[in-house]
Amino acid sequence: MARDILSARQDFPILDIQVNERPLVYLDNAATTQKPQVVIDTLRDYYTRYNANIHRGNYAIAYEATEAYEKARAKVASYINAEHKHEIIFTRGTTESINLVAYSFGERFVGEGDEIIVTQLEHHSNYVPWKLLCERKKAKFQVVPFDENGDLDLEVYKSLLNEKTRVVAVNHVSNSLGTINPVKEIIQLAHDAGAVVLVDAAQAVQHIEHDVQALDADFYAFSGHKMYGPMGVGVLYGKEKWLDAMPPFLSGGEMISNVTPEKISFNVLPYKFEAGTPNVPGPIGLAAAIDYLQEFDEQELRAYEDTLLNYGIGKLKEIPGLTLYGNPKQRSSILPFNIEGIQHFDLGVLFDARGVAVRTGQHCTQPIMDALKVPGFVRASLALYSNRDDIDALVESIQRAIKMLKGAKKHG
């Protein structure tokens, strides 16, 4: 039987702390999520019982560590429905995953005159690596804009796609606006044009569908720390045919099969792309996070998060002077807003005085800010342990801040 979602909160020890003499109201989940006790315990168990370097040790704790690490790979593969377990590469995070593809796939498959398409909704981590690749290779960098609702303009996308397009890089969920992009359609169109697609799932894999075969994604990247797992572990999924054809990225221990001064030959997948000692407890902790997530019914969880998001949207819209950014066809877990006449940074600081943690600024998405013509905004973002009390505390903090800042203005 799946667990009651409202009971999740008790599993996260950090949610019990006090901040500035008030209980922590953590609404910066798009930046990083908190960790359930079981993940924290998994890390401690690793370090106190079977910490060892993996893959080459022939002793008991090395066997155990290797097995746990490789089982984590299998768990991730099944979570995102990869066809093969060796299509899962462990990295530090989404950023490294995307850079790996930009360097390695780019090295082999992108040349002068080729084209790469990203969108105006991308996080810098799925924008800058492609821009720099285009500079290195003299390829053309194309950006799909979004419309006034925060939805991608698919007509422009279609017009940009052509036989020179090599890569399309798009996020499934925008970390700034929460837009759920139609990646399945985007992928279909790209494939028809002969291009491969990298899906940045950093904000998607923990909230919405996460089936790489159903999407037919060529590459799929995400971070453990944003899905209740430890810091310092991320995933790159790649279709076997691409990973096989790509040259290695980082080189050194683990990814080598033969080394002489004349010639180096490389190991098989996935090891070819995992140079050096990995963050062994990272994937093991991530597997624990996936197990934890799967204690809940996935459909129920999505419904819960959607209902809470809509509750938040409704509450925010009642506040005079508040602008909620974007009104996309589908939205996930993100509440982006500003208050007229108040600087976003000030809001964040004043919220903190009441224990409410949100993010303010550009959210690593300067192209979005430029398009919206704002210097930044406040972003509250939800996780499975978020609840109506969190939203209510946020609303109360907004009202207090308005009073303080506008009151001061009058007085001043």
Binding site: F345, D346, V349, L350, A353, L405
Partner: protein, 136 residues
């Protein structure tokens, strides 16, 4: 300058919680002399990550005078403290300026972890002006 420091610390000490402290900072900001709009030039802009500060510094008879403003009310409060402590002081004194007051006020953690919040940059600007002032 030391008296002013002590005064600030005493005032801050009376405040019960962070909300009151920020309230006080915001009030300090509003008491700051208004910066003439013409001085808010690109050149005088110290761009932080999340807020902007304008700073017009002048050397007058060995003393450092400045006008300043920020789009953030909290940052403006901080600017007001810098103003309270250093505006109109001798270049020598400004050269000795440090950020320890913000540490003592408990504001340091907040400011130091905001990369590019501009406070360090502000101080660097002031010191550079003071050096230039002394070598005139």
């Amino acid at each position: 300058m030391d008296k002013r420091r002590a005064q600030l610390l005493e005032d801050f000490d009376l405040l019960e919680n962070w909300e009151e402290k920020y309230d006080y900072l915001i009030e300090l900001g509003f008491d700051l002399a208004e910066m003439p709009q013409v001085l808010k030039t690109e050149e005088n802009l110290v761009k932080g990550c999340q807020s902007s500060v304008w700073f017009d510094i002048r050397c007058e008879n060995g003393k450092i005078n400045f006008d300043a403003d920020s789009d953030s009310l909290i940052v403006k409060g901080i600017v007001a403290i810098v103003d309270y402590l250093y505006n109109g002081q001798s270049a020598e004194d400004v050269l000795k300026a440090d950020l320890s007051i913000f540490e003592e006020l408990g504001l340091w953690q907040h400011l130091s972890s905001q990369r590019g919040n501009g406070l360090m940059a502000m101080l660097a600007h002031l010191k550079k002006a003071a050096t230039d002032c002394l070598s005139q």
